[in-house]
């Protein structure tokens, strides 16, 4: 690990100011992903700003009937929250489908959204990777790609976003609240947070340098049956090959998003509209522009079959 200086701050304003003083710094909260990447020298910040004690650890109702989740709420606490379990069950289900108990006790809400891909070529510093070293090439495209993206990818990068929680939040129309060094705040819909890889896969979100996520907001509950189905290589503690998150209403209408297929949770309103017609119709829309590699074409039928299974389960 490269050496770094360290400071702890006690407010979001102090955090963004600290970043302004030390360009190239990184915020650290749970640290479960960043520290791992620092050990491998994939991340080499010269300065760390500890944002784990900013008081952003509360889950509160919003004036429009929704909920505001502090950026530093731990994954365990979010999954265990009575209101989340009752009204936003999809999020609790997605959270407990991810990582291990130990990791969920440290990992934060904002950190979960900003975690980086688990593409093995991103992790292997002996291999080319446009995300880790722009311009070096992509070893995954012709390589071991069974875990990689089938939608939204580019000739430069076929990495997937690994979060389960983000898939559930995408279904529920979540937004992130941020503050920047000038004190400006904004709200960004989750669908707009992640950038398509294009020719710049090293740029993963629309956040400006030093812009800090302070909360995730959810609109008021939409009811319905919440199901998160994750398909993986072992029964627990593994990343998704694909995952399907749905909220289905009694009349058969609903919403769907996919995990493990692209650089962000994959959702389309036009696919939601096809849900009453079944898995085949909705999948056709979701995966209309899919492009598989020699190793991950299995994901195409797997998405449709998993969605069919989930819709059958929702009918009860």
């Amino acid at each position: 690990m490269k050496s770094f200086t360290f400071e702890r701050v006690d407010s979001p304003a102090a955090a963004t100011m600290a970043f302004t003083r030390t360009p190239g710094a990184r915020f650290i909260a749970g640290g479960t992903n960043l520290l791992d990447l620092m050990k491998l020298e994939i991340e080499t910040p010269g300065h760390l700003i500890d944002v784990s004690r900013l008081g952003l650890d509360k889950i509160e109702p919003t004036s429009d009937g929704g909920v505001r989740i502090g950026a530093m709420v731990r994954n365990t606490d979010l999954a265990a929250d009575a209101r989340i379990r009752r009204d936003y069950g999809l999020i609790a289900r997605a959270l407990v489908a991810g990582a291990s108990g130990q990791l969920r006790n440290k990992a934060t809400t904002a950190g979960n959204l900003l975690q980086r891909t688990r593409c093995p070529y991103f992790y292997d510093t002996n291999q080319p990777c446009n995300k880790r070293k722009p311009g070096s090439g992509c070893a995954a495209i012709a390589g071991f790609s069974r875990n990689h993206a089938i939608v939204g990818a580019s000739d430069a990068c076929i990495a997937t976003h690994p979060s389960d929680m983000a898939v559930a939040m995408q279904v529920l129309d979540a937004a992130v609240e941020t503050v920047d060094a000038a004190g400006e705040t904004r709200s960004i819909g989750l669908a707009d947070l992640y950038r398509a890889p294009g020719n710049t896969p090293q740029l993963e979100t629309v956040l400006a340098p030093g812009e800090l996520i302070t909360a995730v907001t959810l609109p008021k509950p939409i009811g319905g049956t919440h199901i998160y189905h994750k398909v993986r290589d072992r029964a627990s503690y593994a990343f998704a090959l694909i995952s399907v998150g749905v909220v289905v209403q009694r009349d058969g209408s609903g919403r769907v998003a996919l995990g493990g297929v692209g650089y962000k949770p994959w959702r389309a309103r036009s696919a939601d509209a096809e849900l009453p017609r079944g898995a085949k119709a909705a999948t056709a829309v979701l995966l209309a522009d899919a492009k598989a590699t020699h190793e991950n074409a299995y994901k195409l039928p797997l998405v449709e079959r998993t969605l069919a299974s989930v819709l059958a389960q929702a009918k009860g």
Binding site: S3, F6, E7, D10, S52, G101, Q102, K106
Partner: protein, 195 residues
Amino acid sequence: MSVAAVSVASPSTVVAVPNKAAARPPTARVAFNVNGTAHDLELDTRTTLLDALREHLRLTGTKKGCDHGQCGACTVIVDGRRINSCLSLAVMHDGDMITTIEGLGLPGNLHPMQQAFVVHDGYQCGYCTPGQICSAVAVLDEIKAGIPSHVTADLTGAPTVTRPELRERMSGNICRCGAYSNIVDAIVDVAGGKA
């Protein structure tokens, strides 16, 4: 051993600056409590909690397996919660209460979970065992606290101690010898033996 007054109030800002003149890596101070003993340490900022425990405090019961959060051998309990000590910087634990396997119990005065692992032969080589036991103790507390898991059928109900619940909740602790069924037996025993 370094023993300082128990640190309750911590400074709001701790800044470590590089000392280029001496070409030494940046350090920072941290005070925390391990197994009832207060410690005040000056550490290279890169030091993980795991390395602080093993290399600085000589508490070698906590084991380093993968050092990447994948195996669970380094599991310790911080403020009542199990974490991977390999994926946490020591300097981020100022004011924390840390319990390691040595703090649960020692020969002659074993914690019930340690005793149950002995009785049920919940190990072979023993390397993952301290992490397994710390994790198991915390798992029973998590079930008691109503924290759901992937296999909890009713999200709004209270989870109970069942074998599927224990297997799922212990999935972050790998045992290369494959003592899993005996490990589950040991945890069931401590929980009251009804699962």
